[in-house]
């Protein structure tokens, strides 16, 4: 009897078990992602009857989207510019570091790569606020830079305005770079670490010098890591508002600050919703374009 029950139940359990594994994720994402997203989309097409109307009514009001470009085009462009600059900086700092640890780290590899994550033990907000102390006008860093004539160079390059670092675009880019650097290093390290070191011997055996080996073998094989790292850096950086809020001035407000301001200060829910959705759409297309350029499907 028991045997027949077991025999009866097994196929049905086999059929449903995979979906069982999927269920928590599906429920979670439906409740906390799809439903809010739909309500966000609905909100972006709503309009307020008056300035003091708390609950905007749905009215297929596409004007919200038009407003985004006319009113906040500058912040939008600046966001992507800052995010791009931070991503490139992360790549320039992170790639050599990941490469060194992967190739020369030896038995210290795991310790070294663990150190990269250590800043995460402190809260993101706290770390960013600490930068305001670091970059304060009378702080050692700034005084040293001023003494070395570095501030003059940065001013000439248009990266800062006056005689200070805080409240400048440079400070925001620096903060973004600092905060997202581990997200660049880790995937690149993983992809470099997977490379069979004998491939380097093989390239040398086939007359490729060190530089040529890097260009023709190592870098192409690390592209999946570069791709993942860039996305993990660029996407959150372009929507970030914390760095701009604490480290930036009026000339370095990002789209994240606009969204925050619209939602929490001006209570303009439709406008904020429209900006958010537009940001998502732009990032998605940028990622697809990037994937196409790198030919990521072909890497495996």
């Amino acid at each position: 009897m028991a045997e027949r029950d077991g025999g009866h139940r097994r196929p049905s359990r086999g059929r449903w078990a995979p979906y069982g594994l999927l269920a928590p994720g599906v429920i979670w994402l439906t409740l906390f992602f799809l439903v809010p997203l739909a309500s966000l989309a609905r909100m972006s097409l709503s309009s307020k009857q008056s300035r003091f109307d708390f609950v905007p009514s749905f009215s297929w009001d596409w004007a919200n989207y038009g407003d985004v470009f006319s009113l906040y085009g500058t912040q939008l462009a600046r966001s992507f510019g800052f995010a791009l600059a931070a991503t490139v900086l992360c790549l320039l700092i992170g790639y050599p570091l990941a490469y060194w640890v992967a190739v020369h780290g030896g038995r210290w590899r795991n310790v070294l790569i663990g150190l990269v994550v250590v800043p995460f033990f402190t809260s993101f907000l706290l770390r960013t606020i600490s930068w305001t102390v670091l970059l304060a006008d009378n702080a050692t860093v700034v005084r040293a830079a001023r003494g070395a004539g570095l501030l003059g160079v940065l001013r000439a390059a248009g990266l800062i305005d006056g005689d200070r670092l805080l409240d400048t675009p440079l400070a925001v880019i620096g903060g973004l770079t600092y905060n997202f650097l581990p997200f660049m290093i880790l995937p690149i390290y993983v992809s470099l670490e997977k490379i069979d070191l004998r491939l380097l011997d093989a390239a040398a055996d086939l007359y490729a010098s060190g530089a040529s080996t890097f260009r023709r073998v190592v870098f192409p094989l690390s592209l999946p890591g570069v791709f993942a790292g860039s996305l993990l850096t660029f996407i959150p950086a372009s929507g970030d508002f914390v760095n701009a809020a604490f480290l930036g001035g009026t000339r370095s407000r990002m789209i994240g600050n606009v969204v925050q301001d619209r939602f929490l200060v001006q209570l303009d829910y439709p406008g904020a919703a429209a900006i958010s959705l537009l940001l998502m759409a732009i990032i998605t297309s940028a990622v697809l374009l990037y994937a196409r350029l790198l030919g990521t499907e072909e890497l495996a």
């Binding site: 069979d196 093989a202 086939l206 007359y207 490729a208 040529s212 094989l221 890497l299």
Partner: protein, 471 residues
């Protein structure tokens, strides 16, 4: 079947040129060479054994006439390599000539891969000089040496197509695109892989990847092709067909091959000459016949094929070479006194071992009229496919292993029966025990008859693997 099996030759440690070989006598040993099995190596089937058998006989004449005269391509002059405090390769002299198939053979950790990596330029010698075509290259980086390597796990570039993999070296040396295309296609045809040039290495079978690796190295027309256990990752059948394939390609292109392997059967069938390495030292360099029939010491004797090795001492020396080649009479405790031929002349000071190949022994029920015979009690009989292996114990307590071929006539041995084991005089050899095996011999062997298991001296006890073999 005239196999030159002279009594006085052995090429010992570090000497590149074999001593002149007085051709003294023919030998019957070769006729009975049927199996080259070693303990712990996977069983070879009867086909291989037959092929091996044929090759050994077949090659003799070519070998004797060729010798190693020729244009030296690779020369080692007192080359050594140490990794920290571990010496991977002790001072070695070596000459590899143009067009030769030269094997570096030895157990893992013996320094063969390090030797190969020094030729390729991945390791710099700690001392000594390496010459390539007469020019010293000891400190020249690998990408400026005109040798190419086939790596153990192929090391094909996974992101490049087969065509781009093969073209890699040519593009490094800035060969015009049209020439690259022609030469790559030509080489893919040589390795019988013309239709896969667009595919990625991961889409190929192991054997196909092996051929790509070969083409990628050979397309550069290197002065020497270095192969690091290239067939290790293939299954037995594929390995055998690739062995033949490698020989065919080497013959077609006339290139110099330096082949690293731990498989003595592979080295014997493929090589023109073999260097047997052990714990960083070259124990012997010679043709497969030299090494098989005239091992320089007990390590070589037991690493190449199977051997009965028994402690012995010389009781009588003939003043001049005897007609049958044997110049010595030795006493083997527990077995008796027999004529034997030394494999090394002069014999070094130190313990000596009496060597008999199991396949050189004939087992009969009656005492044979010819040769040397010992009465034994059969203790063990094992069926091994093409052959029957049996162990016999003499009245004195010594144990001898014999291998009986499928064409052997007479009674089949049964455990417990009394039978005769006999051999031709010139099958009996006297081999110097190398230091490693001498230590392994139990103390007090003067009184107690001792049988050195063929396994004992070969077990390498290298403390650390050289970095070159870390994978």
């Amino acid at each position: 079947m005239p196999i030159a099996c002279s009594g006085t030759t052995a090429t010992t440690c570090g000497s590149a040129e074999p001593a002149p070989r007085p051709d003294v006598s023919g030998s019957a040993i070769g006729d009975r060479v049927r199996s080259r099995r070693r303990p712990r190596t996977p069983c070879r089937d009867s086909t291989t054994i037959a092929v091996l058998h044929f090759t050994l006989h077949h090659r003799v004449h070519a070998q004797e006439s060729r010798g190693i005269d020729g244009n030296p391509v690779i020369q080692f002059e007192q080359v050594s390599k140490a990794f920290g405090s571990v010496t991977a390769v002790h001072e070695t002299d070596l000459t590899i000539v143009e067009g030769e198939f030269f094997s570096l053979l030895g157990p893992s950790g013996c320094g063969k891969t390090t030797t190969l990596r020094m030729i390729a330029g991945f390791e710099r010698p700690t001392s000594g000089r390496i010459r390539l075509d007469g020019v010293e290259v000891s400190t020249v980086p690998p990408y400026r040496r005109n040798v190419n390597t086939v790596f153990q796990q192929y090391a094909l570039f996974p992101h490049l197509s087969v065509f781009d993999n093969v073209a890699f070296g040519l593009r490094s040396s800035r060969t015009p695109a049209a020439e690259v295309r022609d030469r790559v296609e030509e080489m893919l045809a040589v390795v019988h892989l013309p239709d896969v040039s667009r595919r990625k290495p991961s889409q190929l079978s192991g054997g196909q990847q092996q051929r790509v690796a070969l083409a990628r190295a050979l397309v550069n027309r290197p002065r020497a092709l270095l192969l690091d256990e290239p067939l290790g990752a293939l299954d037995l059948k594929l390995r055998e067909s690739m062995q033949a394939e490698l020989k065919r390609i080497q013959g077609e292109l006339g290139s110099t091959f330096v082949y690293v392997t731990h498989d003595q059967g592979e080295a014997l069938t493929m090589s023109d000459r073999i260097a047997v390495m052990h714990q960083g030292r070259t124990e012997q360099i010679g043709t497969p016949q030299d090494i098989y029939h005239r091992p320089a010491n007990a390590f070589v004797a037991s690493f190449i094929g199977n051997a009965n090795l028994l402690r012995a001492r010389v009781v009588e020396r003939a003043p001049a070479p005897q007609p049958d080649g044997a110049r010595l009479v030795v006493e083997v405790p527990g077995l008796g006194r027999f004529p034997a031929t030394a494999t090394v002349d002069p014999l070094p000071v130190g313990p000596l071992l009496f060597m008999l190949r199991p396949e050189a022994i004939v087992v009969t029920a009656e005492e044979p009229a010819q040769g040397t015979a010992v009465a034994v009690t059969i203790t063990e009989v094992t069926f091994a496919g093409a052959t029957l292996r049996c162990a016999g114990r003499s009245d004195g307590g010594a144990t001898i292993d014999a291998e009986i071929g499928p064409t052997a006539v007479g009674a089949r041995p049964q455990p417990g029966t009394r039978m005769w084991m006999s051999w031709q005089h010139d099958a009996a050899r006297l081999v110097p025990a190398d230091s490693a095996s001498a230590e392994d011999l139990p103390a007090g062997t003067d009184t107690a008859p001792t049988r050195v298991s063929p396994d004992t001296p070969t077990t390498p006890t290298t403390p650390a693997r050289p970095a070159g073999e870390r994978n």
